[in-house]
Amino acid sequence: MSIVHHPDWDLSSRGKKDAERHHDKIDDAIRKNVKDVIAEESIITQKRGKKVRIPVKGLKDYRFVYGSNKKKKGKGDGEGEGGGEGVGQGKGKPGDVIGRRPKPGDGKQGKGKPGNKPGEDYIEAEVDIDYLIQVMFEDLGLPWIEEKTKASQLVPSGWKFETISKVGILPRIHKKRTMLEAIKRNQLFASEISEATGRSIDDSLQALTQAKGDINKAIELIKTNKLDTTIDPYIVLEDEDMRYKQIEEDYELHSNAVVIAMMDTSGSMTPDKKYLCRSLLFWLVEFLKKVYDHVEIKFITHTTDAKIVDEETFFHKGESGGTYCWSAIDKAIHLIDTEFPVNEWNVYCVYVSDGDDFKPDKTITYIEELLKRNINMFSYNEVNPSAIDEEMLAKLSSKAVSAWGLLWSSSNTLIQEIKKHWKFVCKEENGAQFCKNEKLHFLTATIKDKSHIYPTLKHILFKKK
């Protein structure tokens, strides 16, 4: 029997190494489920950092196990296997509810709090936001970007070696230029020697080599017939031959781009809707920051009145009040006219609202006005999580989906007005609707669910020149 104390037990990195291997596998899973990951609320509400911790389902190891294969209700995502029944222990009489959790896939955000039923094991994985963006937005970018003729912005893009000087430090020596100078000077000296002594250039070079670069000594050598004709002439370096590189800041010319992000913060924006708006714009902004070194982003929030705010306020503060959508558009137009003229700037306007507008007619005229400015893109996104229940959708047969369209239109929102006014090519995806007008560079999206955020971003950020 014995007890041995190992205060400094070898903390081998094996656990970490194997954990990394598991992470690699999770990365694959994240790639496949990126739209679930980006809808994770904690990322947006979290203090801005480079890394975020997100809950990830640990990968399973498969064995033959018992379990029911009855069709699971809902999407069955969070459904634990065979989780329908079990033996427990504690206080309680028949009929007592010992635990409760939200139904999977009922499409309601903000209520996504975990139930108190132990579900599957989750692991908190630390993920780099940049990495997520990289995974998500491969091949995405701002559409319709143009070279603006006037006044491109000078953008520092690091350092470059441009000029050569006679003074400098040894590490920055420019070998080629230095040798060139030396050869030039040696040839010059040789021809001088040749002139002075009447010998050939080759002999002169030999003399110069023998005299170790001293021209007077070389002439003397020849004159006193001490020239050793067996030596190979080489180039003799002198201080004055030295050339050094000089570093300078480098600039690139970039097309200017500005993104004007507008968000409705009025009273009709429930926490669910706000969450969707913020998610959408959060990822848009993060993406732009990552991919474009120099894109200006302006933030506008509005109720009945619009104002320009900073990023922090935009993402973290709430307001309430009535809704004049036109006020935001008006503010954007003002911004474009005063600060970002379209002949110098690529202008992108992204607007998110629930479409519950007090004066849709006026908004339409303002949008017309905005589009007249020939901006690169205007994207209108309407969030409407309560429009229809996922559950209800599932019950409707495919035939009835058109009826669902009717249901939707019964709530008369801004998107309806816009669609009346302009023509779009539309497509539907899992209950979200994406429309595009190529000519006007006008995009709309109608989303209800956090799973729609990713497709919407793809819709807005298709790269097209």
């Binding site: 029997m1 014995s2 007890i3 041995v4 104390h5 190992h6 205060p7 037990w9 903390l11 081998s12 094996r14 656990g15 970490k16 190494k17 194997d18 954990a19 990394e20 291997r21 598991h22 992470h23 690699d24 596998k25 640990g58 990968l59 190891d61 498969y62 064995r63 033959f64 196990v65 018992y66 379990g67 029911s68 294969n69 296997e81 989780g83 329908g84 029944e85 079990g86 033996v87 427990g88 222990q89 504690g90 206080k91 309680g92 009489k93 028949p94 009929g95 509810v97 010992i98 635990g99 409760r100 959790r101 939200p102 139904k103 139930g115 039923k117 132990p118 094991d121 692991i123 994985a125």
Partner: protein, 514 residues
């Protein structure tokens, strides 16, 4: 841990051993304790055995343990013990002193269990070394054959490692064939003379007939693989696979060995943990009585012990459940609350005060220790009275308006017991046999699930079959049942450019969409 504390711990250790051996009558191999930092503890817990091989699953479990530890572990007495000779166990260095004593006493309980219970007889006592050597070899394989291939093989091996039993027969395939041949020959011989007079055949003719029959039988047996259905799937695959390389066989043999090491532990989880709890409670009580631990430490101990024995509304806690049954057994055999007289007594008052001063409780426990595994144990000793006493219930998921509710059912103690016994009888490893290694004369591996009213989970089954197919190198078919109807799943990998013909599809009754 300071030097003084260590000295004190060593003193207490020898007292613990004294109590365990002299007062409780336990036998076990010597135990070596290592005091280690938490990170190392978490790592060992994830790897099960400190020298285990490298695999992403252990990395995952390591992170999981770490997450739990960081969020909610305060005072939880982590323990790991390896069944070897000498036994190895680990103490976490920042545990409180009383908790260290608790863990040591608990480990003594486990070690006594390992060396007494007959299901552990065949366990490899050198599993630590076996895995240590293996992990070094596997690293070499990783360099030589690539981590992906090695990982695939390990994953497949892990999937199948419990499909064998520690009570394997050491009979080879040809020995088996001979045995079955002799058996069938004998059976045929018994009947051969029966209608001699009716047919009017001579002795010679009958003998020729028998000879012919025997030849046919032998030929048929030679074509049959496996000769008789086997549950040791991994063994069969290692011996008969179309594709396995030697290094892969090495990996699989190792994992099969590891599976056999864990097999009895899985089968005795409730008993084993319960027994260890009983032992540590008894020993700790003695230590406090003797004043070896202070009053303050009594508080630490109580807190940790309550965490160990916490009720879980959704799951059975083996520490609590197992120890409750052991305590009940001890009480019943101390007071003679068993046998016909007790069973037939209906007077509840009389029953409450029942005491024949039999005082054989602990003795009975040690008897049970030797021969039982979980499901016999629960079947024999979990009484309906105990079920209501420790408040066990069955719960079911019910769909409410906008949530899923877990509701306690109206099941009686008897029904609860029935369900529990069933659950433990099946344990977690379904019985699956290799019935044919040359199904349809096409080298297809034919597996059969011995259905016992609980179906196989389809996603898991499908993924596991992919593992099997990877090792086997040809298609794999699995027959099982669901809702008492036969279903058959198959895995045909496109990699082998193999397709089942229309006829084959008919043979395989139904292809379930997975």
């Amino acid at each position: 841990m300071t030097k003084n504390e260590l000295r004190r711990l060593i003193k207490i250790e020898s007292r613990i051993n004294q109590i365990a051996q002299e007062e409780l009558g336990l036998h076990y191999y010597p135990i070596e304790f290592d005091i280690i930092p938490p990170q190392k503890m978490l790592e060992i817990m994830a790897y099960n055995i400190p020298t285990n091989i490298s695999n992403w699953k252990y990395g995952r479990d390591y992170e999981r343990e770490r997450t739990i530890f960081e969020h909610s572990s305060r005072g939880l007495p982590y323990e790991v013990v390896i069944n070897s000779n000498p036994a190895r166990a680990y103490l976490m260095n920042d545990n409180k002193f009383a908790v260290q004593c608790l863990v040591m006493a608990h480990v003594v309980g486990h070690c006594a269990f390992f060396s007494t219970n007959k299901y552990f007889i065949n366990s490899r006592q050198d599993i630590v070394n076996v895995l240590y050597e293996a992990s070094r070899r596997f690293l070499k394989y990783e360099k030589q054959y690539g981590i992906d291939e090695v990982e695939k093989t390990i994953d497949a091996g892990h999937a199948l490692q419990f499909h064998s039993s520690p009570f394997e027969s050491r009979e080879t395939e040809s020995e088996k064939r001979l045995r079955i041949f002799k058996q069938l020959k004998k059976e045929a011989h018994v009947h051969s003379g029966e209608y001699k007079d009716v047919i009017g055949a001579t002795e010679k003719e009958i003998n020729e007939d028998i000879e012919l029959y025997n030849q046919k039988l032998w030929r048929r047996l030679k074509l049959k693989t496996p000769v008789e259905p086997t549950e040791d799937i991994l063994r069969y695959i290692i011996d008969n696979s179309f594709v396995l390389e030697d290094w892969q066989k090495d990996i699989l043999e190792t994992l099969r060995l590891e599976g056999q090491y864990f097999w009895p532990m899985m089968k005795t989880k409730q008993m084993n943990e319960g027994f260890a709890v009983r032992v540590h409670e008894k020993i700790m009580t003695r230590l406090f009585e003797e004043g070896l631990l202070s009053t303050e430490e009594h508080g630490d101990y109580n807190y940790s012990n309550s965490l160990v024995k916490a009720e879980n509304p959704f799951q059975i806690n083996p520490y609590l459940f197992g120890s409750s049954i052991w305590a009940d057994i001890e009480k019943r055999w101390d007071r003679g609350m068993h046998g016909i007289e007790w069973d037939e007594c209906t007077d509840s008052k009389l029953k409450e005060e029942w005491d024949t001063h039999e005082n054989r409780g602990w003795e009975k426990c040690l008897e049970i220790l030797e021969t039982y595994i979980d499901w016999f144990f629960i079947s024999d000793f979990l009484t309906p009275e105990l079920i209501s006493e420790i408040k066990l219930y069955i719960y079911k998921a019910e769909e409410a308006l906008d949530s899923i509710d877990y509701v306690i059912t109206k099941d009686t103690a008897k029904e609860i017991k029935e369900k529990l016994v069933n659950a433990f009888a099946q344990s977690s490893v379904p019985k699956i046999e290799v019935v044919n290694g040359n199904y349809n004369e096409q080298g297809i591996l034919h597996l059969k699930h011995k259905y016992d009213k609980t179906p196989l989970e389809a996603t898991h089954a499908k993924k596991t079959m992919e593992h099997v197919a990877y090792l086997w190198g040809r298609p794999v078919v699995l027959d099982t049942m669901e809702d008492d109807a036969v279903i058959s799943w198959r895995v045909v990998s496109s990699e082998w450019e193999y397709e089942l013909s229309e006829e084959d599809l008919e043979v395989i009754t139904q292809d379930l969409e997975l």
